[in-house]
């Protein structure tokens, strides 16, 4: 194997060993502190052990490989063996000396430590022999206190020095503007709270609530007065199942100064999600008293009332929300639903149109709006839907069937048609007209004359009229076709 290949193997082994360590940043400098965050460090350690074992098998004199191998060995005796090998090759190697001393102390004091504890070598400061120089400290980017370059979190200010990319879940150095793995735009850490808030929102959008809550806590460290900080924290807590904790926090905030609508909304939302309807309603109503001209408060209360099956109560609030904020797409969508529930077809159509125009095309509500519009809008252009021509066209088909049947039944002599037959034909005309009015032409001119300009507005009425019309037509056909009073003549053979 080429030397370069051994070096590559070594680098890979070191990287895996670093990934397997708990709090040790693995690269030579923070700028290169990029490694896949592990959920299973044991795997990394095993992988590192395999790789580094291969390296020392290929190159027994590789001091660095022996040193790193010692960090991933689980057994103390094996660790010791690795360090002793280092000292054989380099008797003055200080990390190996201190590591051995540490091991000796451990062996004397207690049984072996759990697997994932920092190795004595790492604790002795020789985790990265390649950069093992006198300069292994650096000031924290946030508090400027000296920290080890291996640290992923500042021990003084508790802020992180690496972050998880919300997009690809790999860790990236905080100084990087983009994720090193997927190039997702992470932001500039120098914006401090705004930087972490952006990340937290991205985690929340990804439903990574634990990470979001942790990141909101960083925002809290940097700026406890960050807008809506506690609202977001409350939401993250609620999402993680700590609803009561979130409620307590938000209540405390309201007691301190009830001036923030977002706090009310967050609190009401948590009550709503935990199905504490009365508390949610009381919270939203309180918010409305404090902020009577905000669309969000009206919308929140209206939506709650819709959810608890009180559409009549919800309607004024949702309508008010659309008046206060005509660009509130969701409010238009809910308003359309309410109109549809109250059978106001025209108003529902208009509201759905507004919602479809305002909401993002990808959103479920926008898609539903389009779907409902397809159902609510008349089948035909208005000229046809309200004209005599289409009514005649559609009615003639079913009527002609009855006329043909009646004619055949009367031996092709119309004057043979009995008065019952004529009655049946009349009934078929009524039936055909009602069926068409209830199905495709609810605003036809005859219906307009009979019930007014709005035609058959509600879908229930349309179904009823269509069913009744269909039954009338079937009855007419039955009357015509039933051979009442007709004799069966002799069958010719």
């Amino acid at each position: 194997m080429q030397r370069s290949e051994v070096q590559a193997l070594l680098r890979e082994g070191i990287a895996a060993a670093k990934a397997g360590q708990k709090k040790t940043d693995p690269t030579e400098a923070r700028q290169k502190r990029i490694y896949r965050i592990d959920t299973d460090r044991i795997k990394h350690r095993e992988h590192a052990r395999d790789l580094l074992t291969q390296v020392v098998e290929l190159d027994e004199t590789n001091v660095i490989a022996w040193l790193w191998l010692s960090t991933v060995m689980d057994d103390l005796a094996e660790k010791r063996l690795c360090l002793e090998n280092v000292l054989v090759l380099d008797p003055d190697n200080k990390p190996a000396q201190s590591g051995l001393a540490q091991l000796a102390r451990q062996a004397a004091a207690a049984p072996a430590k759990p697997e994932l504890d920092p190795s004595p070598v790492a604790e002795a400061g020789l985790a990265d022999h390649t950069v093992q120089t006198s300069n292994n400290e650096t000031p924290c980017l946030f508090c400027q206190q000296p920290i080890s370059i291996m640290d992923t979190t500042c021990g003084h200010c508790q802020l992180p020095l690496v972050v998880e990319c919300p997009n690809c879940k790999t860790t990236t150095d905080i100084e990087h503007l983009h994720c090193s793995n997927c190039s997702w735009s992470i932001g500039d850490y120098r914006e401090r709270p705004t930087y972490f808030a952006g990340l937290a929102r991205a985690y929340q959008a990804d439903e990574n609530h634990r990470r979001a809550l942790e990141t909101w806590q960083f925002v809290e460290i940097l700026d406890p007065d960050y807008p809506d900080l506690y609202v977001h924290m409350g939401r993250a807590q609620a999402a993680l199942g700590y609803s009561q904790k979130a409620i307590d926090n938000l209540k405390r905030l309201l007691q301190e100064g009830p001036t923030n609508l977002a706090v009310y909304l967050a609190l009401g939302n948590i009550y709503q999600e935990t199905r504490r309807w009365r508390s949610a309603e009381a919270t939203y109503r309180e918010a409305l008293q404090m902020f009577p001209t905000t669309a969000q408060a009206h919308f929140a209360l209206g939506w709650l009332l819709m959810e608890i099956q009180r559409p009549q109560d919800a309607l004024p609030y949702i309508r008010k929300a659309t008046q206060l904020d005509p660009q509130h797409g969701m409010a238009w969508y809910r308003l359309a639903q309410l109109y549809e529930m109250s059978r106001q077809r025209g108003a529902a159509t208009q509201a759905y149109k507004k919602a479809a125009a305002l909401l993002s095309e990808e959103s479920l509500a926008a898609q539903k709006s389009h779907e409902r519009l397809g159902m609510l809008e008349p089948y035909l252009p208005k000229r046809l839907a309200t004209g005599w021509m289409e009514l005649t066209r559609q009615s003639l088909g079913p009527i002609l069937i009855c006329v043909l049947a009646a004619l055949l039944d009367a031996g092709l002599r119309p004057w043979w048609i009995s008065w019952i037959g004529w009655g049946a034909l009349l009934l078929s005309i009524v039936g055909a007209f009602l069926w068409i009015s209830g199905t495709t032409l609810p605003q036809n001119p005859v219906i307009k004359i009979l019930v007014g300009e709005q035609g058959l507005a509600s879908s229930e009425l349309q179904v009823g009229v269509a069913f009744f019309g269909g039954m009338c037509w079937l009855l007419a056909m039955l009357i015509i076709l039933l051979p009442i009073g007709q004799s069966i003549p002799e069958i010719p053979l």
């Binding site: 088909g397 069937i401 055949l408 495709t440 051979p483 069958i491």
Partner: protein, 269 residues
């Protein structure tokens, strides 16, 4: 028309048989429920008739005739206002003489019915089928019932009149379509030739109007022959009720406009 030329034309046309395989029109609706339902009812009725009439112990052609006669379309009875009247037009449309008769009709119904139902919707397709059935019956009664007293008592049965209407509606709606057709040669048993079908190995994409007009023109030639025979012999011995085919086709072609779904006019289909 010269009777000799007429017979030559009929023999020639009778020897060519078109079997539709597929067309290229995409379907806009889902499953054609009404077509399938009509097909199902036809099959069930045939099975029921087979077991209750044709396969009864001691069944003879005479007994079957007697059992089914009232339910078939008898022009004389309809004209006299006797029997089941208009109802017999409906019942006869669900009766078939044998399995071959049923299969042939149902194949055509399934092929063309689905496409027409796509433009009419299921309920309107059912109405159109009914309308074509009555139209077929009307024309059949007029011609067969008035031209020859003997033919007026010969009953008609089968769904072919209504199906001819559906085929004509297809021609009206999709005259620009092409139909992949298996062209077959067959003899004409009606003309005393032994019956057989010899499929040619070349399927052709025929324009739908060619396919359908061929069928209707053949029927028209047969009808013309029937009229000639009535003039000469006083009776026409045809096994196929071509008048019903022509009546159904006229109904489907001329009246499909009244059965189209409004979506067609709204440009949604």
């Amino acid at each position: 028309m010269n009777p000799t030329l007429l017979i030559v034309l009929i023999v020639f046309s009778r020897m060519i048989f078109f079997l539709p395989l597929k067309d290229r029109r995409p379907a806009h609706r889902g499953f054609a429920w009404m077509t399938a339902s009509i097909l199902g009812v036809n099959v069930l009725v045939h099975i029921w008739v087979t077991f209750t009439v044709y396969l009864q112990p001691g069944a003879t052609a005479e007994r079957a005739w007697l059992a089914l006669y009232p339910y078939m379309e008898v022009p004389q009875w309809i004209l006299d206002g006797q029997g089941l009247g208009a109802l017999s037009s409906l019942t006869s449309a669900f009766l078939h003489a044998d399995l071959g008769h049923l299969l042939g009709n149902m194949f055509m119904l399934w092929f063309f019915g689905r496409k027409v139902e796509d433009s009419t919707g299921s309920v309107r397709f059912g109405l159109l089928y009914l309308f074509c059935g009555f139209m077929a019956s009307l024309v059949s009664v007029i011609f067969r019932g008035t031209l020859s007293p003997l033919n007026a008592t010969i009953p008609g049965l089968g769904a072919s009149g209504a199906i001819a209407g559906i085929m004509a509606a297809y021609l009206f709606l999709y005259s620009d379509q092409r139909i992949l057709t298996l062209v077959s040669l067959q003899s004409a048993p009606e003309l005393g030739l032994p019956g057989c079908i010899l499929p040619l190995p070349i399927p052709l994409w025929l324009p739908s109007w060619v396919f359908l007009l061929y069928n209707f023109i053949t029927d028209a030639l047969w009808a013309q022959l029937a009229l000639e025979l009535v003039k000469r012999e006083g009776v026409f011995p045809l096994g196929v009720n071509v008048f019903a085919h022509l009546g159904g086709a006229a109904g489907g072609f001329l009246f499909i406009y009244f059965f189209l779904h409004p979506d067609v006019f709204a440009g949604r289909r």
